[in-house]
Symmetry: C2
Subunit: 325 residues, 2 copies
DNA sequence: CTGAAAGCGCTAACAG
DNA sequence: CTGTTAGCGCTTTCAG
């Protein structure tokens, strides 16, 4: 592997000139440039980013921390984040926490260790101070770390509102919510508080079933739904996640209850499986593309020292009609 | 941010001693170690990986090139690759090619630019020589680059065999295969050639519908299936991907044809959506965990210069019973 | 327009 | 057991 030194020697100029030439910074005479180009070609020279990065004190990499890449919502989100970062010339490092705090911690530490230039986090088992003590670029989705860390999330409150309205319009009289614990208040949990509020205002009895916040697999939801089978059999409306909705459907479909006549099911997220699913799941849809764009745009501003940052960005959600409500 | 210099100064030793201490390499007296630990604590010193990596000529990062992270199969694969790499102390960089060759090319170039220490590739729009000219660690899944690049893939031939056997056992008399073009021979395409072979041996008429190899979204398959509606309505067995199977089911379900009585559907991959799906899709399942393990294990050997490498590894597939065959 | 030289922060002989 | 020193390969002043 040839270095900038070899190029300089062959082109009979100094390494400083070569550096200027390959970076298009500062003046380089036509003659010098020609000789350098030729030398580069001859030697198959490619710049060593490792050295460049040490010198420039950057890495060109952003870490994205998520709970579980196997969950299609995060797959979609990361895909879009990667596409956005790529357009800014940045690379994407993925960090699955799979629910364990030490993995999350170690990935956060990458900032201090100068492995990444910034972090977009979607996961959080950790205490806030682990994040807030770091003074490098962090953008958070769905967890409020206070005014120092930009927070970007879907308009979950409106999501809860839309969900409640749809249930009411559909004539539900007795509903249940199934989802991650929301005793800890996060933007994400507002979907439930708002949903509950609207229903209570309309005198509709409502029950809740809590799920572990970091478990979102289909088998888990199937098991959870089974445990509460009796409860679920006696209501006429259920508000849960996409995965929960599908799991639930399978559970009740064979019991002779008509969907949506006897029971309305409403999912949340709007992942593509809701459309693939038969029946198509009615749900509240988050805009993963827009979320990705905003996260990346914001972390880029943080890195560039751009002052013009919105520290709280809320992305619209929409109702997506399906066959279950 | 403090450096090794600051620590050395505060601990009143040389930077070499500090380096030895933090790396546990070479001898360091108890006394020195104590002073160093104290200095590290006092200064909140954290090693700068950027500098360390330049010095050690490594990056600790593996790039994983895939067509589309939104596809659940790749989501699952990458998740498992990340978990494996993490256990070796390596980080994972994701590279979505989304079917475009320049993105794939640029990510391959990361090897030459010393951004990553190795690449696991699942994508390939590019000519072979782009890969083969590189003499750094590359592991391929599903594309044979010749003897210099380890190839790891599912036993697709057996997958095709199992699929054919199941169709025959189920009494199919007229079948169609729907999948990525397999005129270019890859390990992955053997599922089709083997399937076809067995069926022909049994005098079963078989038709084929080609899909773009790098498009695997649900909408695409739905559209594709619609185009060939007439064909699909006149067969009694269909072998396709998981996504194709689900798309197909939706298309025919409303037409009064009984599944699996009138029509058997068999998917391929065995992603979790096949289980979530209603009906549960019968399919041939790839072992993503094992694939991930082998890929990572092999690239680690390549990096360490371990001679003991299997250059062609084939992972078992299994039939997964569902409701559609 | 160009080159010398001082870093970036760490590792690894090598001599003591 | 420890310190000196020479890199790793590139960027960036600062004189000229």
């Amino acid at each position: 592997m040839s270095t900038i030194n070899d190029v300089a020697k062959l082109a009979e100029v100094s390494i400083a000139t070569v550096s200027r030439a390959i970076n298009n910074s500062g003046y380089v005479s036509e003659e010098a440039r020609k000789k350098i180009d030729q030398a580069i070609n001859e030697l198959d020279y490619i710049v060593n980013e490792r050295a460049r990065n040490l010198s420039k004190q950057r890495s060109g990499i952003i870490g994205v921390i998520i709970p579980d890449l196997e969950n299609p919502f995060y797959g979609k989100l990361i895909k879009n984040i990667e596409i956005e970062l790529y357009s800014y010339g940045y690379k994407t490092m993925v960090c699955n926490t799979i629910g364990t705090s030490n993995r999350e911690k170690e990935y956060i530490d990458m900032l201090d260790r100068n492995i990444v230039d910034g972090i977009i986090t979607c996961a959080l088992v950790l205490e806030d101070y682990v994040y807030t003590r770091i003074k490098k670029p962090i953008v958070s989705t769905d967890h409020d770390f206070g005014p120092s860390i930009p927070l970007i999330h879907s308009d979950h409150r409106r999501g809860g509102y839309l969900a409640a309205k749809k249930m009411l319009e559909a004539g539900c009289k007795n509903v249940v919510m199934v989802g991650a614990r929301w005793d800890v208040k996060t933007p994400s949990s507002e979907r439930y508080t708002e949903f509950e509020k609207i229903l209570k205002e309309n005198k509709i009895p409502i029950q809740t079933i809590y799920a572990d916040w970091n478990r979102m697999s289909y088998p888990y939801y199937t098991q959870l739904m089974s445990e509460y089978y009796d409860v679920l059999m006696n209501v006429d409306g259920i508000f849960t996640s996409d995965i929960g909705a599908i799991a639930l459907y399978h559970l009740v479909a064979d019991q002779g209850r008509q969907i949506p006549k006897d029971l309305k099911i409403l999912g949340y997220d709007g992942m593509s499986i809701t459309k693939i699913s038969k029946p198509v799941i009615s749900c509240i849809r988050q805009d993963a593309e827009e979320l990705a764009k905003r996260c990346v745009n914001t972390i880029m501003k943080l890195i560039c020292g751009d002052e013009n940052i919105e520290y709280h960005q809320i992305i619209d959600v929409t109702f997506q009609q399906g066959d279950t409500l």
